[in-house]
């Protein structure tokens, strides 16, 4: 156990020795170390958000042919720090008639719902909070807490628009949770465990290779759950009066903001861990720092994709969002689950290569069938529009968007 093979274990053993050396019982020292570790991890995540906000603004600026923040510090890197200083000293305006407990609990729950996930994220083979044996479901449960935060915000504000925004947000989030839960079953099936670190270790080859469709659906439903462009119709900042968070000001509003940005990064890590092999890579088992590097590279790729989607795609309409979920993703996710389970079980006796090829072929067939169906539906839908009344409406079918 050296600094290069197990840095956290080393630090932990050393601190444990120090604490017990002071005469503390072993249990108490262990709990103190847990609290310390948790604090470092959670605070690290929050501080990291400051950097993420700068990165995102800078990149979105570049995508849109602007400079982005460039005044405070080199490349404007201290811009968010300045923003933070400002937001910390802004007044809290509490609307009349607000239900105070839900109103104040909501921003806390929103951030906490994202932070919870960090307890189980494996960044390297031995750099993680815990490898919880129900890790995947724990992540889903944390999402439920975030939803609760939104509903409380909408309710507590005593404002029609906030409530309508909250309803829309919740409707969208719970809808996209369905394909997410279904597609998450596929990696669990391949692994035989719900622990995220076990899932990483089992990826030979990466799950994105054996279950590309599931990975795609999981990715899109996570982005939708994060409620950012192109799925940000709960907020639509350029068109509507914000969303559920309209009555918040100062840092309480900032907390929703932090939650959103941290969430975007968290789902990138999650996707990298569950489908892109997490810390797997040459030499990562021996040298966790390499594993950390691999995780970060994969996460960055996913994060860039999310940002590109945000910058490049137009916003969906609410009926498109709902149709995309209920009429395409959910049935497809059920189909994927059934086909994967049956194909994998029937190929269990063959060599791994044949198994992988079989699963790939199954995915390809499903993709082709889906595209075929979408085409038929699109033609069916399009027929009334051919009437010579020269309707200039845009096609309002989800399949149009996808094809």
């Amino acid at each position: 156990m050296t600094f290069w093979t197990d840095p956290i274990g080393l630090l932990d053993a050393w601190l444990f020795a120090v604490l017990t050396g002071w005469g503390l019982p072993a249990d108490v020292s262990r709990i103190i170390l847990y609290i310390l570790g948790g604090f470092v991890l959670a605070t690290g995540a929050m501080v990291f958000t400051v950097f993420l906000i700068w990165l995102e603004r800078k990149l979105i600026g570049r995508f849109q042919d602007r400079f982005g923040p460039n005044r405070v510090g080199p490349f404007g890197i201290f811009q968010t720090v300045a923003d933070m200083l400002k937001i910390f000293t802004k007044e809290f305006i509490t609307p009349d008639g607000a239900d105070l407990i839900p109103y104040n609990l909501a921003p806390i729950l929103s951030v906490a719902g994202v932070l919870f996930v960090w307890a189980v994220l494996p960044f390297a083979i031995n750099m993680l909070g815990v490898n919880l044996n129900v890790g995947v479901l724990y992540v889903v449960a944390a999402g439920a807490i975030g939803e609760l935060g939104m509903i409380l915000a909408g309710w507590g504000s005593n404002n029609k628009f906030a409530l309508i925004g909250a309803f829309r947000a919740i409707g969208q989030m719970i809808s996209y949770e369905v394909p997410m839960i279904l597609t998450l079953l596929v990696p669990v099936m391949f692994t035989g465990s719900m622990g995220l670190n076990d899932i990483v270790k089992a990826q030979n080859p990466w799950f994105v290779v054996v279950a590309p469709l599931a990975a795609f659906i999981f990715f899109i439903s996570q982005v939708a759950e994060n409620a950012r462009a192109p799925f940000d119709l709960t907020e639509a900042e350029s068109e509507l009066v914000a969303g559920f968070n309209i009555e918040y000001s100062g840092l309480k509003f900032g907390m929703f903001y932090v939650a959103e940005f941290l969430h975007a990064f968290t789902i990138s890590v999650l996707f990298a861990v569950i489908f892109l092999g997490g810390w797997l890579g040459p030499g990562a088992e021996k040298y966790p720092w390499l594993g950390l590097l691999y995780t970060m590279i994969k996460t960055t790729v996913v994060f860039f994709t999310i940002l590109l989607m945000r910058a490049g795609l137009p916003r969906f309409r609410i009926d498109q969002v709902m149709d995309l979920n209920w009429k395409l993703f959910t049935p497809l996710a059920i189909g994927i689950l059934i086909v994967t389970a049956v194909v994998d079980k029937s190929l269990a006796l063959f060599t791994p290569t044949i198994r992988v090829l079989g699963l790939l072929a199954a995915n390809l067939v499903m993709l082709l069938v889906t595209l075929r169906f979408l085409k038929i539906f699109a033609q069916k839908k399009r027929r009334p529009l051919v009437v010579p009344s020269a309707s200039t409406e845009l096609p309002d079918d989800i399949s149009e968007v996808l094809l």
Partner: protein, 118 residues
């Protein structure tokens, strides 16, 4: 195993504490000058009309209903997925029947137009 949950419990408390502490500190730093106009409900400058807690379309409830049914299935399907490696083909087919019944419910909802946003 139990230790895992101790860590999770402590971590949950910490992640609730951090944002709460930040908000408290900000509340202590920030000025407090409430007045009637500032505290009134923000509805684009228009006076609030009627009861705030307006009623909502039933569509949201139907989405939540379908979601609930698919959510409960996790309790059954996740243990099945964890045990998948040790299952026989027959046991896998049982879960397929389970999923097909749920898919039948989804198709019913679709045909009845319950999934249609209008």
């Amino acid at each position: 195993m139990v230790n895992d949950w101790v860590y999770i419990g402590l971590f949950i408390l910490i992640s609730l504490f951090l944002p709460a502490a930040a908000i408290l500190i900000a509340g202590w730093l920030a000025p407090k000058k409430p007045n009637k106009i500032k505290n009134s409900t923000y509805e684009c400058g228009i006076e609030t009309v009627g009861d705030t807690w307006v009623q909502f379309r039933v569509q949201y409830y139907i989405y939540a209903l379908v979601f609930l049914v698919f959510d409960v299935e996790t309790v059954f399907l996740y243990p099945w997925a964890v045990a998948y490696r040790q299952l026989t083909l027959f046991a896998v087919l049982e879960a397929v029947v389970f999923l097909l019944l749920l898919a039948g419910g989804l198709i019913y909802a679709w045909k009845k137009g319950a999934l249609q946003w209008n």
